[in-house]
């Protein structure tokens, strides 16, 4: 330790206070994340009451039953009733956040006990279809309503084996870059310790798209993230974009989807079954949010390093991997291998490590906001894209 140090200089005290505040914040986090448990018998009661309320609630004139998860209250009325112009009703939407720390996955869905009706101003004269409300975009995301948590994340490194993906001018192959970033992302997420992280491939192996989809579904993925590197005829283009499943907005996206889907190995019958999943509201809501968070983190951070980087934003595209996987799923094009500058950077471990860390930040950002998000939270999306 250096001699003669003045440990009582004012800036030292400010620093000590800063360290103290950081730790105080950590302490608060720890207290908030205490796991909650609900007894098995309460679960069945809960389900029965929830079912009755969803079907008969409006007819019986239930305007605002409350929901409890281990003593924390939320208003089911905020889900069942149309939005109220009154701030009191808006507050009830916010209390749904308390469900977000539920430690259960969709498969273990635990819900709550309902108590008596409660009046909310401005709601009694309006009629609303029950499930329509749950599935609409103006209400809390279903994962928040049902307190669903993420336990398994599947990372898919695009292409591989005999399929090199896009190839840069210096011979860099998309399959290698995608795999390296995927492995780094896996290691980073694993070190968090909260999630089971799986990879569709962890070596240079050929894997068809349907095998990737089956792998994710068989392993009950809660999130699916497919990593790719873009290619453009115009070598000056350097951009980042992230997709979730949906109708393509432009012909360029259709062309990209054709390329990425070229090895799907799905038949028409399979495809029809998969198309039905488009109505899977929860998957859609969560995919949008995940894509938004990842795109924001990638672009925001890479743009700081390189101001020439452009964002093509969050887009919809009919990629087979995004359609077939049951869970919220996104495909991210983390860079452009056809841009010489980007290709050179992609060949440095430091840049690939950064991309993996930005992807990780995006995923954490998504998981942090998951509790408080409403299903069609456009303001969040706009803010992130902005």
């Amino acid at each position: 330790m250096p001699k003669g140090t003045d440990y009582h200089a004012p800036d030292r005290l400010a620093m000590l206070h800063g360290v103290y505040e950081d730790n105080l914040h950590l302490g608060k986090l720890r207290r908030r994340r205490q796991p909650r448990r609900i007894s098995h018998s309460r679960r069945w009661t809960t389900w029965a009451l929830l079912g009755i309320t969803l079907v008969f609630g409006p007819a019986l004139g239930y305007l605002g039953p409350s929901v409890f998860v281990d003593g924390q209250e939320t208003r089911l009325s905020s889900v069942l009733q149309p939005p109220s112009p009154h701030p009191e009703a808006l507050q009830s939407v916010q209390t749904v956040h308390t469900l977000a720390y539920s430690p259960f996955t969709p498969a273990e869905l635990d819900f709550a006990v309902l108590d008596g009706p409660e009046q909310f101003p401005g709601t009694e004269s309006e009629s609303w279809s029950d499930f329509d409300m749950l599935l609409s975009d103006d209400h809390p995301a279903l994962t928040a309503v049902f307190g669903l948590d993420v336990k398994t994340i599947v990372i898919d490194a695009g292409h591989g084996g005999t399929d090199p993906g896009a190839i840069g001018a210096q011979g860099t192959m998309e399959k290698d870059i995608a795999l390296d970033i995927a492995v780094r992302l896996r290691d980073r997420l694993r070190s968090v310790g909260r999630y089971k992280i799986l990879m569709t491939r962890d070596a240079d192996t050929t894997l068809r798209l349907n095998q990737r989809v089956e792998f994710a579904n068989e392993n009950h993925a809660d999130l699916f993230i497919s990593i790719h590197v873009n290619a453009f005829p115009d070598v000056r283009v350097k951009t980042i974009e992230t997709y979730y499943f949906g109708a393509p907005p432009d012909t360029a996206t259709i062309e990209l989807a054709k390329l990425e889907n070229s090895d799907s190995h799905y038949g028409m019958a399979d495809f029809k079954t998969m198309i039905k999943k488009i109505s899977h509201t929860m998957k859609h809501q969560e995919s949008v949010a995940l894509a938004t968070a990842i795109q924001h983190s990638l672009f925001h951070n890479i743009h700081k390093l390189d101001h020439r980087m452009r964002s093509f934003g969050v887009k919809t595209a009919p990629f087979v991997v995004l359609l077939g996987v049951d869970s919220p799923s996104v495909l991210t094009e983390v860079s452009c291998i056809t841009n010489v500058d980007e290709e050179m950077k992609l060949n440095t471990p430091a840049y690939r490590a950064k991309i993996a860390s930005f992807l990780e930040r995006g995923i954490h950002e998504y998981l942090r906001h998951k509790p408080s998000r409403t299903a069609g939270d456009n303001s969040y999306e706009r803010q992130k894209n902005g």
Partner: protein, 340 residues
């Protein structure tokens, strides 16, 4: 040293939890370190032979064939987040605290240094692991702890080159924010893997493992010009044979230079342009990796392509983190401990 009157009923400790080595420094002027390995006997026979339920550090390494051995702090954070790794970190902490504290009646207040970009979940996991053995605890970033201990509080940059991570931190008179810090993983373990791969390719018949490669690196690492040949003994078909690994060693060690230079420049370029020169002239290397022969000169030379640069290494790389954490623990006002 703090001019504050020390409370003898409380022992202050600073801990640097490292991937490869963990160090502790106490207000009683004790300093100890241990290799960050923990091992449990594989079966009851091993338990009987070894005579201990758990072995740590060098003891664990030398008896590794009888042990389920674990290096729990991969990349500077609790690996995988499994119960076993958390248990291993607990054992490490228990061992370190016992090395410096024999008086069980005293309270222990600890500051633990962690990699700069540790996520909240990791900080919480480390806190859980440490909290059983101390009465009050704070965690902080490793390079910040080093900076604090070295009195590098303003217009300076710390680059802490460890086994699992290289941590960067710019100091500008306040607690560094997330934007002032970076962590990259091209650190000591990365060099080991590069060297292992290169040697496997060049000497396919040689029989070696990653632990041996790590030892080769610790004895012979260098960048730039070699001081003669680097020759090591490696068994081939059971017979010890001398192998020249000079070029492989150079390439493996040099593989971390570019990532460090790039990250340094990236971090500094985001800082207020008026102060960038001052920071470039005050870069301090710490951590075991800073001992790679020629590394500081090479980094300085690369950075000078972008302007003037002065780089030096801390004197005591093994204890710089623990000493810094101890300095924080010593100076932390008592009311802060109580509230946390």
């Amino acid at each position: 040293m703090s001019g504050k009157k020390m409370d003898d009923s409380i022992l202050k400790i600073g801990i640097d939890l490292g991937t490869s080595r963990s160090a502790i420094a106490s207000s009683d002027e004790h300093r100890e370190w241990v290799e960050s390995y923990v091992g449990w006997p594989k079966d009851f026979i091993a338990r009987k032979v070894l005579g201990k339920p758990v072995l740590l550090g060098e003891q664990a390494l030398s008896n590794r064939l009888s042990l389920d051995i674990c290096r729990p702090l991969e990349r500077g954070v609790i690996k995988e987040g499994t119960t076993r790794d958390e248990e291993a970190v607990k054992e490490l902490i228990r061992h370190l605290v016992n090395l410096v504290e024999k008086n069980e009646d005293r309270k222990v207040h600890a500051v633990v240094g962690l990699p700069a970009e540790s996520f909240t979940a990791n900080k919480l996991a480390i806190k859980r692991a440490v909290s059983d053995y101390v009465d009050s605890l704070m965690v902080t970033s490793e390079p910040f702890a080093v900076a604090y201990g070295q009195n590098l509080l303003n217009n300076a940059m710390i680059i802490d080159i460890g086994a699992g991570t290289v941590d960067f931190c710019i100091m500008h008179g306040t607690v560094p924010s997330e934007d002032d810090q970076r962590t990259v993983f091209t650190a000591g373990d990365y060099i080991d893997q590069q060297l292992f791969n290169a040697l496997s390719e060049r000497y396919p018949n040689a029989d070696f493992n990653i632990n041996m490669v790590r030892r080769f690196k610790e004895e012979h690492s260098f960048v730039g010009t070699a001081n003669g040949k680097v020759e090591v003994d490696i068994p081939v078909n059971g017979k010890m044979t001398s192998h020249d690994i000079t070029e492989e060693m150079r390439c493996a060690c040099e593989s971390i230079v570019n990532p460090i230079v790039e990250t340094t420049l990236e971090l500094i370029s985001r800082f207020d342009p008026e102060y960038q020169d001052q920071i470039m002239s005050n870069i301090v290397l710490s951590g075991g990796g800073s001992q790679i022969r020629g590394l500081a000169d090479r980094l300085q030379q690369s950075l000078r392509e972008n302007g003037s640069c002065h780089m030096r290494c801390v004197e005591d790389t093994l204890f710089a983190g623990a000493d810094g954490a101890l300095a924080l623990a010593r100076d932390m006002p008592e009311e802060f401990w109580e509230t946390v």
